[in-house]
Symmetry: C2
DNA sequence: CTCGATTCTTGCACGTCGTGCAAATTTGCT
DNA sequence: AGCAAATTTGCACGACGTGCAAGAATCGAG
């Protein structure tokens, strides 16, 4: 992965754009930033920005997407015989080990997310695609498509809820513990 | 409610706009419709459209919002001592009695929804507000805010999943039964 | 009914956005 | 070196959302 110069450069500009978007949005608020601002900051044209992202919201949420994709990948690599919901819980715990919470970029995104509705909408759009991928991975463990789908949906909803509660709270509890506690409360009856 | 002439007219134009948006979007696809088209169809200016809706997506999804708001209201009027999750299931069943499924407008929205990502995003944005309202109503039955929140989230996720499965399926099963079956599979452990 | 106050509609102007297209630049590969 | 493929850029266009002020409709008290 990423041997050629082309791919390397593309990866760099993508990161550069996402970073610029996040930084500027934090400084001035999402509405105080234009796509052109972001492109300038990244040393690239407005048109090129559109070659990478569909809008500033997409750029801002880039790390969030990556994080969830990593989570799906982790679920996929759990031991084969493991119970589906248990695999989800374990993968979540692994994610917090692999990619600890004080990830500055990610937290910056979350703080923005809390305030700005258009970001919430765009994020939710992503989650639909994510739910599809997660279902595909779960189907190995839970052959009933319907149930797998339901698990993916409730699982993601639970994660989202945990993050929301954590952001609203005064930070008196650690995110991993909070999320795991919520996950332990939810049961999706298998076949 | 709606005694004065002013409110009546406003309600009429709102319905008119939402109806026009839905009709045109079905005919030409969402991207083949401009806000101006919708405004014209409703006999109103482009500027006035913006006084009612934030965008064509909002207009198209109007009936969907109403349906979910009705659901929240139904949950609120369930007998006081009823178990929270049971109240949600019962309210859902009531909704299907009160407002039967072959609601042409609503189904039209759903079919559009399935294909068009930007509608999914906007709908998800609405659901965040909905989740807030639903939580407020649930708190009466489940005093632990955290759990109430979690219930609202998983409940809405389950409903969404049911509708999605139903739309994708060849229609071999009735929506109310499908949704209730999914709801029966999910447990959120109270305090 | 009259008339002032309130609310709603409309048109205009402006900055922003996404995208198709074609020219120019950069990179890949032999 | 030099051709092919991929990427960037500028341009132009239609669409969008919104502040603003003028005009029209509605309300309510006398």
């Amino acid at each position: 992965m990423e041997t050629t110069l082309r791919e390397h450069k593309k990866a760099v500009t993508r990161r550069s754009l996402a970073g610029a978007a996040l930084r500027l949005a934090m400084e001035r608020g999402l509405d105080g930033v234009t796509v052109e601002d972001i492109a300038d900051e990244a040393g690239v044209s407005r048109r090129t920005f559109s070659n990478y992202f569909a809008g500033k919201e997409d750029a801002v949420l880039d790390a969030d997407r990556q994080r969830f994709q990593a989570l799906v990948a982790l679920v996929d690599t759990r031991p084969g015989g493991e119970d589906p919901w248990q695999a989800l819980r374990a993968a979540t715990a692994e994610l917090y080990r692999t990619w600890p919470v004080p990830d500055v970029e990610w937290m910056a995104q979350l703080r923005l997310l809390r305030r700005h509705p258009s970001l919430l909408a765009r994020q939710a759009g992503d989650q639909v695609a994510l739910e599809r991928d997660l279902t595909a991975v779960l189907v190995v463990r839970e052959p009933d498509e319907e149930v797998a789908r339901l698990m993916a949906a409730t699982f993601l909803a639970t994660i989202r809820t945990g993050i929301a509660l954590w952001l609203e709270g005064a930070g008196e509890q650690q995110l991993p513990e909070l999320v795991d506690r919520l996950l332990s409360r939810v049961r999706v009856q298998g076949t």
